[in-house]
Amino acid sequence: MSMEFSCDRKTRRMERLAFVRTYAAWVKKTPNAEWSREQAVLINSLMENARNMPLSRQVYLERVAGRRRPRRQRER
């Protein structure tokens, strides 16, 4: 991995984490009915897209079986 790519990845991760913190701060100060209404719009639309995904069950199972393991897989 080039140093340029590595720095870019770290920067993107830090930007994502900053967004997560900002979003969490908004959720914490927002009434449940309000943050959850906005979350429901997002998640329901994601689920609608997933329902329309042109994949067979078999292809989906093969895809999840071949998915890369987490970077630090706990020994069990």
Binding site: R13, R16, L17, V20, R21, Y23, A24, A25, V27, K28, K29, T30, P31, N32, A33, W35, S36, R37, Q39, A40, L42, I43, N44, L46, M47, A50, R51, M53, L55, R57, Q58, Y60, L61, V64, P70, R71, R72, Q73, R74, R76
Partner: protein, 199 residues
């Protein structure tokens, strides 16, 4: 966010339920007739507002007798669910006993799905024994203790896992027991300093 937090229960009143919440609630209502369970995946962060979707929800259950599993299998099928793995009840039970997960979705769909697994080790058993009831409108769901979930997500270490850990930390940092949090960070041999997670 208005939450009432204690060691054994978190109440999130007036939450507008997502289709994902309803899917999990429909499944766990059937599951809990046969066995205790605990939810351990990214859905824990989503339940408390994290703005992302997920394809699967990981649920752990204790080892169960084959007859109990067959009963559960029939209840789930009658309840409109189907098993994605191309096995019948005895084959699915064999998969579970061999340490594999079985995937269950609503009939004719495969996303979202539940990945159901048996407890495998002392950590899994501890998580089930110390599960937390999350009360939302119309249901209670049982999840992993939040401190363990944060430490384990940091341990897994993918971008998505770290973001989930940071999100849960930001939401619950004023409620978590610092001694227990430190214990779990030490148990997983990880540090959250890099991500602003410290007690």
């Amino acid at each position: 966010m208005d939450i009432q937090y204690s060691d054994r229960q978190i109440v999130v009143s007036e939450k507008v339920l997502t289709d994902l919440d309803r899917f999990v609630m429909d499944f766990t209502r059937i599951l809990e007739k046969s066995t205790p369970y605990v939810i351990v995946s990214g859905y824990v962060a989503i339940l408390f507002g994290r703005s992302r979707g997920t394809e699967d929800i990981d649920i752990l259950i204790p080892p169960l007798e084959q007859d109990t599993f067959v009963h559960l299998y029939r209840d789930l099928i009658a309840g409109g669910f189907e098993f994605l793995n191309a096995e019948h009840d005895h084959g699915l039970y064999d998969m579970l006993v061999r340490g594999m997960g079985v995937r269950i979705a609503q009939h004719t769909q495969f996303i979202p799905n539940i990945e159901l697994k048996l407890l495998k080790d002392d950590l899994d058993r501890h998580v089930l024994e110390n599960r937390i009831a999350v009360t939302i409108p119309d249901a209670s769901l049982f999840i992993s203790p939040v401190d363990i979930q944060i430490a384990y997500k940091l341990y897994l270490g993918s971008d998505k896992d770290i973001e989930d850990a940071v999100y849960l930390w930001e939401i619950f940092k004023d409620d978590l027991d610092s001694t227990r949090m430190k214990k779990w960070m030490k148990e997983f041999d990880i540090s959250g300093d890099e991500y602003g997670i410290f007690m």
